[in-house]
């Protein structure tokens, strides 16, 4: 079922948690709400769930207005960050609970629980209590409780944030596969941009209750709509340098930095007085020898991760980072030369933060 937010606002007294949200989630789509703590992403999910009242605006499920319905009438399944497993019930009872509430027949419940348990590899754990399970097992039970019925949508609130890194990657894949095979509309909340980019059909980036950009993961990554998205998505984040455009020289200039700009960006830059230049670390070229037009820098720290090396270096007063092949290594304070890939430069209006053009 498709879900639509129309002009949805949530205020807590004076504080605006979510401001005029318009968002449409297509049937079967997985949309990730991405943003830092306090950006309103969980509030949006809880409003959709019916656990939090909407201050103004409407939420639609298909063509039906569900803004003021009880959680039960909306029929969504939710996975909580803390999993919220019922501690006094066994795994089997936890899984069966949504069916019990719906007055399923006992033998049907047993059969369905068995089926879901098999799917999530929980069969040997059915008699255990939640406190006897590991983090990953609890996570699977919480997922199982959600998929045991056919809800109108899945609502996942940071479902992977409480398990360790190795397991997280595995569960991420499982989740993606599961969502694909079930084809259920899913809203997924996270602050982890890697999770967002890898899982989502579309990502909604939020800051301070305002939707910043909605788009496919690669669009978010390659064409960030504003400075916030540019800085938030990507690890390490995009290099951002504030300066101005020297139209006579067809270049971006900041203190200690001078970067030639391609024609398209020059045209776009005419709209703004001050601009911010953005370039992703993998679009920074780094070398020990200078070539014409390259700029000088000094290595601050060099981090090898195996297949790639992250180099943080100083160019005058600016701190920049570069992502280079894992074969390259640099020393502290080593003199380096760098340039930006002209085809992958981003310009933002420094005053409004909006991308140019």
């Amino acid at each position: 079922m498709e879900i639509r937010f129309e002009h949805v606002t949530k205020n807590y007294g004076e504080v605006v948690a979510v401001a005029d949200l318009n968002l449409e989630v297509q049937a079967g789509e997985l949309v990730v709400l991405l943003g830092p703590t306090g950006c309103g992403k969980t509030t949006i999910l809880r409003m959709l769930a019916g656990l939090e009242a909407v201050t103004s605006g409407e939420i639609y499920l298909g063509e039906r207005v569900i803004t003021h319905l009880s959680p039960r009438a909306r029929d969504f399944a939710m996975v909580f960050q803390s999993y919220a497993l019922y501690p006094h019930m066994s795994v089997a009872e936890n899984l069966a609970y949504p069916l019990r509430v719906r007055h399923w027949r006992q033998d049907q419940i047993a059969a369905t629980v068995k089926q879901v348990a098999a799917r999530l590899e929980l069969t040997s754990l059915l008699a255990r209590r939640p406190r006897e399970l590991s983090g990953g097992e609890r996570q699977r039970v919480a997922l199982g409780r959600a998929i045991i019925r056919n809800p109108n949508a899945f609502l996942l609130d940071e479902p992977l944030s409480n398990i360790d890194a190795k397991l997280r990657l595995q569960m991420r894949m499982e989740l993606k596969h599961l969502q694909h095979s079930l084809g259920v509309t899913t809203l997924y909340v996270t602050h982890d941009q890697a999770e967002a980019l890898t899982l989502a059909h579309r990502v909604a980036v939020l800051q301070k209750g305002v939707l910043q950009q909605l788009g496919e993961p690669m669009a978010i990554y390659h064409r960030p709509a504003n400075l916030f998205v540019a800085g938030f998505v990507g690890s390490p984040p995009m290099n951002l340098v504030e300066g101005s455009v020297d139209f006579s020289a067809a270049a971006f200039t900041a203190r200690d930095l001078r970067v030639p700009l391609p024609e398209a960006l020059l045209t776009a830059a005419r709209q703004a007085a001050r601009v911010t230049l953005g370039v992703r670390p993998e679009r920074v070229r780094l070398a020990r020898q200078a070539e014409t037009g390259w700029l000088a820098g000094r290595v601050y720290v060099c981090e090898a991760t195996g297949n790639e090396t992250l180099v943080s270096f100083r160019a005058g007063e600016h701190r920049l980072s570069a992502r280079v092949p894992g074969t390259q290594r640099y020393d502290f304070e080593e003199a380096v030369w760098f340039t930006f890939d002209p085809a992958h430069l981003h310009l933002f209006d420094a005053a409004t933060g909006q991308a140019l053009p």
Partner: protein, 274 residues
């Protein structure tokens, strides 16, 4: 080994003040009147007699008192639990502006800050005017009033320890609020409920002052008043009083024993806050 001996010695020393009176009451209830006053006391060796038990059941209507106490304590406890738990749940869960649930809770507790004896005269007049003197109902109402603030405070603490997400999960799974309360919250606070119940039961079972003032006839009199009634104009019937005392202690003992597991968990549940 030596160390263990010390521990036991310490335990005995600590338990002596609580256990000795109980031992004393039990033995007195089984001693003949002559043996009761023997000097030095007959600690272990005396001829046991059941005459005092016979006395309280056949000469005085102690069965009746026992029944009255049971009814009053049970009904009062049940009512206080039902009303108090509902109130506590609301106070723990309903969002209120400007901390009003805190203020409300404190106001409820403040009703227990005056010594009960201060309220006895107005209460007597009230009960008399509504025609409830010498009824068990009067005692029940008064005891519910007494224990309700405690129930609300204890249960609010227990409720607050249940993570709200558990209830929200139940709502998402399709429960109504009431069903979530029944299926999820109440089972989780069951130890707390047991601890609170015992607390109420003991208060209502042992209450003496209000029972003395509000009931004077044998038909509705409760045990504590009945026991005190054995202090007569001419003699103090120690044997009968002790026998009645033993019988009064028994139900509370048995109940606490049965609920011991919950009691310990319940009391510590409330104490440890994250």
């Amino acid at each position: 080994m030596r160390r263990q001996a010390w521990v036991y010695l310490l335990l005995v020393a600590a338990l002596l003040p609580t256990l000795l009176p109980i031992y004393w009451v039990v033995t007195i209830s089984l001693k003949s009147v002559v043996d009761q006053f023997a000097v030095p006391p007959l600690w272990f060796r005396f001829a046991a007699t059941g005459e005092h038990y016979r006395d309280i059941f056949f000469v005085r209507p102690f069965g009746r008192y026992l029944w009255n106490s049971g009814v009053v304590a049970a009904v009062a406890t049940l009512l206080a639990l039902v009303l108090g738990t509902a109130a506590a749940y609301a106070l723990a869960r309903l969002p209120m502006k400007r901390n009003w649930n805190r203020h409300l809770s404190f106001w409820i507790l403040s009703t227990r800050m005056i010594p009960p004896i201060v309220t006895i005269l107005p209460l007597f007049l009230l009960v008399r005017d509504v025609g409830l003197l010498n009824t068990r109902l009067a005692l029940i109402v008064v005891y519910v009033g007494f224990t309700l603030p405690f129930v609300i405070w204890m249960m609010r603490g227990f409720f607050e320890e249940v993570p709200p997400e558990l209830e929200e999960a139940a709502l998402m799974d399709g429960s109504s609020r009431l069903r979530a309360l029944r299926d999820i919250v109440l089972p989780l606070v069951a130890p707390g409920l047991a601890a609170t119940a015992i607390f109420c039961l003991i208060i209502a079972w042992n209450e003496f002052l209000f029972a003395l003032i509000l009931t004077q006839t044998d038909t509705v009199m409760t045990l504590p008043v009945g026991i005190a009634g054995r202090v007569t104009q001419y003699e103090i019937k120690w044997g009968a009083m002790s026998a009645a005392g033993v019988l009064a202690m028994l139900p509370v003992f048995l109940f606490a024993l049965a609920a011991q597991r919950y009691l310990v968990r319940g009391l510590s549940l409330g104490a440890v806050k994250g």
